[in-house]
């Protein structure tokens, strides 16, 4: 069965330090992977995606993610965290069981808290 796991409910980091939000996946075939961010009382905003090519993907707001096929991971990273990065982050994978709809399977989310 296809799935996405975000093993940490919360990640705490000091401003200026690097941050990592973890994601692992389980799909058949080549995965399409995504990261979204949600600020309080808002919808989800697309950050970045991996479809094919370079394993290091760069996205919005200085975020990047590293695709690791052998470890089936797609961790979100940022070299220097900002207080404004504090939000709820979701990892997602395309649902390969239904090509027509391109539905996504989401992880349960990780709350990132950046302290000043």
């Amino acid at each position: 069965a296809q799935s996405v796991a975000q093993p940490e409910d919360q990640v705490n980091v000091a401003e200026g330090n690097p941050l990592t939000v973890k994601c692992t996946y389980s799909v058949s075939g080549n995965p399409y992977l995504f990261w979204y961010v949600q600020y309080p009382n808002r919808g989800l905003q697309f950050l970045l995606k991996y479809i094919t090519g370079d394993n290091l993907v760069k996205g919005s707001y200085g975020f990047e993610a590293e695709f690791n096929k052998s470890q089936t991971s797609f961790h979100l990273k940022k070299p220097s965290a900002l207080v404004s990065d504090s939000a709820l982050y979701f990892c997602a994978v395309r649902d390969m069981s239904n090509q027509a709809g391109t539905a996504l399977i989401f992880g349960k989310g990780t709350t990132l808290s950046v302290s000043s």
Partner: protein
């Protein structure tokens, strides 16, 4: 920029009422989706549509129905609202597969409370 709008940000309804949640997108996307978001459970797919009048059940369709009469509009219907349907509802859209754009674009969400 893609814009996905939802008819209400906050909604309070009584048990047993019929509830309509409306979603409109302005990018001519073929695919539209309804999710519900609950703390600790992430986003769960209720229904999606890949064309006008076409719909497919997601993971949790029970208690819901949908309507897509026009390409830009996708409605979620709670036939008889119950308290366990209190949640945040998120609409999303995406172009059809093969365009090179595979990400979904989300609306701001509707926080529904059923009392």
């Amino acid at each position: 920029d893609v814009k996905v709008t939802q008819s209400s940000r906050y909604l309070v309804k009584r048990t047993g009422e019929k509830v309509f949640l409306e979603c409109v997108q302005d990018m001519d996307h073929e695919n539209m989706f309804w999710y519900r978001q609950d703390p600790g459970l992430g986003l769960r797919l209720i229904y999606f549509s890949y064309d006008v009048k076409m719909k497919e059940k997601g993971d949790i369709p029970e208690g819901y129905s949908v309507s897509r009469e026009k390409k830009e509009r996708f409605s979620l219907i709670l036939e008889s609202a119950s308290t366990n349907q209190t949640s945040m509802y998120l609409c999303a859209s995406s172009p059809q597969f093969g365009t090179g754009v595979v990400e979904q674009y989300f609306g701001p969400g509707t926080r529904l409370t059923v009392t």
